[in-house]
Symmetry: C5
Subunit: 296 residues, 5 copies
């Protein structure tokens, strides 16, 4: 996620330049052709106005849908952070702090929750979670996880199972309260998988791109007789507007896709790690900082 307060024109230019340059070259070609061959130009204002209005509407709706997906993805991670903190608090206060078994069980559940968020992040990014979670789990637990298809879910189940065997350290009511937090965690995970696995419908993914390109190709033809030599400037400007609207949707539509526009999962996992370790009263690593304006 890009968090810098000032726009990095370098980045903007880098992203928008290739299509813009192409567009500009085409605009120049059309203008030169117009002045060279001086064709009896067709008036295509009506269809272009209709086309442009309809396209603006379609891009607007799509940007809205894409933004909603991105914001829902971020909100689900927010819920995950909240639920992780609540789980840690509950693991410590709803399990009797028996000096031997109680404290060990609480600590183990809290560390496993740190492992859980790292595992989930890796799964959503298509990476192998095992190396990332090794520091937080016992060796035999890591071993058991090999071959498991849904590692985060398995971690959750393990915590629940250990809790079920914690005879005398808690009671049914408190276990049920912790189980409800597991349900919150499972729901947040399921929501993220839903966004990850369900792309925008096909027509929303490809047609806006197609129509924007066609629009940009036709635009200089439509305005060259009015704008004359200034056509490349005017056409590129309006084209940039539509390309930018297209770009917004493209950047946001897949919020777990490992781009700079991504939801910053590494930073959020680190936040969970810090908060949970401090809840245990242990020393915590520093928070992640943006690199060149980008928080991963």
């Amino acid at each position: 996620m890009i968090v810098s307060d000032t726009p990095s024109f370098g980045r903007v230019v880098q992203e928008a330049m290739p299509p813009l340059l192409l567009l500009f070259v085409w605009d120049v070609v059309v203008t030169i052709a117009y002045f060279t061959f001086a064709p009896k130009l067709l008036e295509i204002e009506l269809p272009m106005t209709l086309f442009g209005t309809a396209l603006a509407l379609v891009l607007g709706f799509r940007d809205n849908s894409a933004y909603a997906r991105w914001w829902e993805a971020r909100s689900l991670w927010g819920l995950m952070i909240n639920a992780s903190r609540s789980l840690a608090r509950q693991a410590i206060t709803l399990i009797d702090d028996d000096p031997v078994k109680g404290k060990a069980l609480s600590r183990e559940i809290v560390l496993r929750q740190i492992a859980y968020v790292h595992a989930l992040r890796c799964v959503l990014r298509g990476q192998d979670p095992l190396p990332e979670i090794t520091p937080f789990l016992k060796a035999d637990e890591i071993e058991e996880l090999t071959g498991t298809k849904n590692i985060p879910n398995a971690l959750l189940n393990t915590s629940a199972r250990h809790l079920a065997h914690a005879n005398g350290l808690t009671d049914s009511f408190r276990r049920v309260r912790i189980e409800s937090t597991f349900v919150d965690i499972a729901n947040a995970q399921g929501g993220m998988e839903r966004i990850k696995r369900t792309p925008l419908p096909m027509h929303y993914r490809f047609l806006p791109q197609l129509f924007t390109r066609i629009f940009c190709v036709l635009l200089p033809i439509a305005i060259v007789s009015d704008l004359g030599i200034l056509t490349p400037l005017g056409s590129t400007l309006v084209g940039l507007m539509f390309i930018a609207a297209l770009q917004i949707g493209d950047d946001l539509k897949d919020p777990f896709s490992n781009t700079v526009h991504d939801v910053p999962m590494s930073a959020m996992c680190k936040t969970v790690e810090i908060d949970l370790l401090q809840t245990l009263g242990e020393s915590a690593p520093p928070a992640l900082v943006p690199e060149r304006g980008v928080l991963m």
Copy 2:
């Protein structure tokens, strides 16, 4: 659901071709008629602009509603997956793992939940659920289900009834927690039935289609005097834009209708099957993969 990363132009063409071809032929006819009879053409720009703007707005709103239905359908299935995982976790950890009765009851409830999602999928697709759920249930339970009108609901009730008779294996608090998960499952099922049984209001279903067709018929007449010989190209292009906007709504408005634009229920049921079997510690079948870019 179409999941391929690149647009399958074959599919796009296949779907959009018939109306597009028809539109193109009509555009050619209008153009030829114009150059043949050279009628004193009427200027219908104002009504066409108004008509087009209003139509774009109507299609935009309808696409939005249809997308919301589709996304809600997908989200409800997401909730079903989450609730299924939570139910499995709870069946294992909130029922005492008494080696004889406890483990058997847990396993039975988890398997019945797998049967449940398969049954729900079949009901939503208008198929007979019994063959699909046979592998997960005992023979006498299958028999009892014959004649039942709402099989998924009956399965839920059966699990709840067995739990009620599990004397000594659980207590009221834990039973109530599992019952709350049954409520989540029932709510997700009810939401899907609502979407399945309540089509978009009549006017949203038929009028956009009617108006788009009328618009496409009138469009070449409106622009032929301006565009001349290029009319078929321009008219087809703008028409395609509106037809595509219409198509998006049509594809998404019935998310349980057995088309390639469907919510991928078979794949999601398989996900539940895998996750729940692995939670039981049993071997799981492979996940469903897309066939030619389509996940069913």
Copy 3:
């Protein structure tokens, strides 16, 4: 609710005909007047475009609000169906199935819930609920209900009171779980009453109609000099578009108003009746089927 897959043109025509005919006659009058008196016509394109665009936007927002009301009404009935099923399941499994008292209490609560949904339907439709609920309740309970202003709420309270006196058949935790289901039911009922008793704000109800009519009256005057003899056709077509957009909002804005566009409450009550009777293991009536494409 209209559920037929193909549009019943009969119905569409029947509904849209009167305004359309009126519109057409007026368009013809304007056209004849134009050719008869050949007035030096005014150019009212700019205000008509502005007027039309603003009107389209207003109708679009209103349709959206009306659709949201209709869908919320439908969703609340969906929640009612879900909660009814959950209540039945809980009445059977969270009350001990003591052969004498327990089974009788469970059955009584389930039957009263069937009565409840029928009573709620009647109240929302402004009908007397007593005849409809008599088959499901004891005679003395019916008698007690006479004079009660909020019969559904009274039924809910009765079930809760009986449960409170079911000494030894349940415990506090299970009673509290059932009470939470009562809360869900009360919330769904309250939501429906809210929609029933709170019409769209006055300006949303009357002004769109007024403006659409004015627009349709002015439209032929605006285009007759361009379209000439084709004015009635063009004007009627564009007018139909706006009238249809108006109609959509009018049909959906009062979802409990006993029209064919209504939420199908009779069918949903029958669904509850069937599911709850089958949950009790008793024989169930057939489901309601659409009559001439309309489900009541």
Copy 4:
């Protein structure tokens, strides 16, 4: 809230007349000036079209936000009605109906809830709640409330405190269920205070008004050369459209502001009073009816 089925043209005229009249007079002045001085008029169509489109969009978005506020306010009152009914049911069924202490405590909690909704209504309307709640509370409780800044919240706390001291009449589980209903009530109250205390952002409150006025002033100048003597008619009509759109937002943006467009809090408080008294088995006052089409 205006609930009459037919528009009261009297009211509409009364509200819209002053600005409309002003507008009409200005339109006439512009028209007369045009025909008197016959100035070489400027063509301001382009900026007016842009201005009008942008203004329509801004008004549309604002109307949407204002309507959402109004509907949320109404929904929160709906939740309050539901929670009040649930609290009454719980006070009667979750407290043992011990003939001496139990029944008295239940009745007292129910009556205090009636006082609560009346107090909340008065606070939201900026009125003194004490006179309204006196009939439902004991004299000494009224006395204690003097000087309390948040009277509804204090009433809630009193009920909770009495419940905490009801030794032997209830148990922890049932108390916790009633406490959860208190939480629902507190959440609804907090939501209403939020809407009351947080007006729409400044720019949404003042700029639409300013721009609509400027637009109405410029409109006749823009169209007088086209419409000639009909300018006052055309300009007033289009102006009315924009003024109406502005009015909708203004009416709805403050749903607790003691106008005829208000959420009908008096009627809803009476509904709570009736339902809760009937739940107690006591006689209830009649419901509030609309006066001249307005329900307060």
Copy 5:
């Protein structure tokens, strides 16, 4: 937050003046240049109409998103107020009011919750929370907090831990109910951190500004041949409209950014302080009042 009922034209002018003045000067320059050099002007109406329409749509969508963020931020603070009141009520009524230990624990939890909201406010505003919370906590607790990265979360954990050690003053059910309120508080806090740490996507932040500026630069060139000497007036007016739409989004997009458009966190913290102290039966400070129309 600006709460004055009448627009402070001083403030409006102060904010809008610099860009407006710049715009006006540019408009004058263009007009003078037009009359001086009388260039053969280009007709750039089509691209300007397209550009303006698309820009209006983009600004509309962005304003909507920014308003949604602002309203969500306000709603989360509303939830925090509600949860704080509920926590206070629960701390007093769900902990036995044992004269020695019980009352002290209740009071300590309520005071710590006051400290919590003040701490959260400071963190969101980037200020040091320790000085603000000192009055409500014991000296040794303040000391422990030094070095903690997430102070509000630590306060919550402390309350939960004290509750866990309150042997005999409460029971598991009541503790679990209070823990659920802690979860509500943690969720509200997490939601605020999400809004604080996740700015609008880059393209939404910078591009609308860029495009609005370009639009305002081009506008007078587009209309000077039509409007002549009135160009500065017309262009500034339309420009103001777009600049205002841009400003709305800019003001609302960061609701925790210490500007006058902020969510009024100081006032809301004071509300919590008053309500909670009065719940304890202690004397409360006066509420915060707006200073020159602004509530902080």
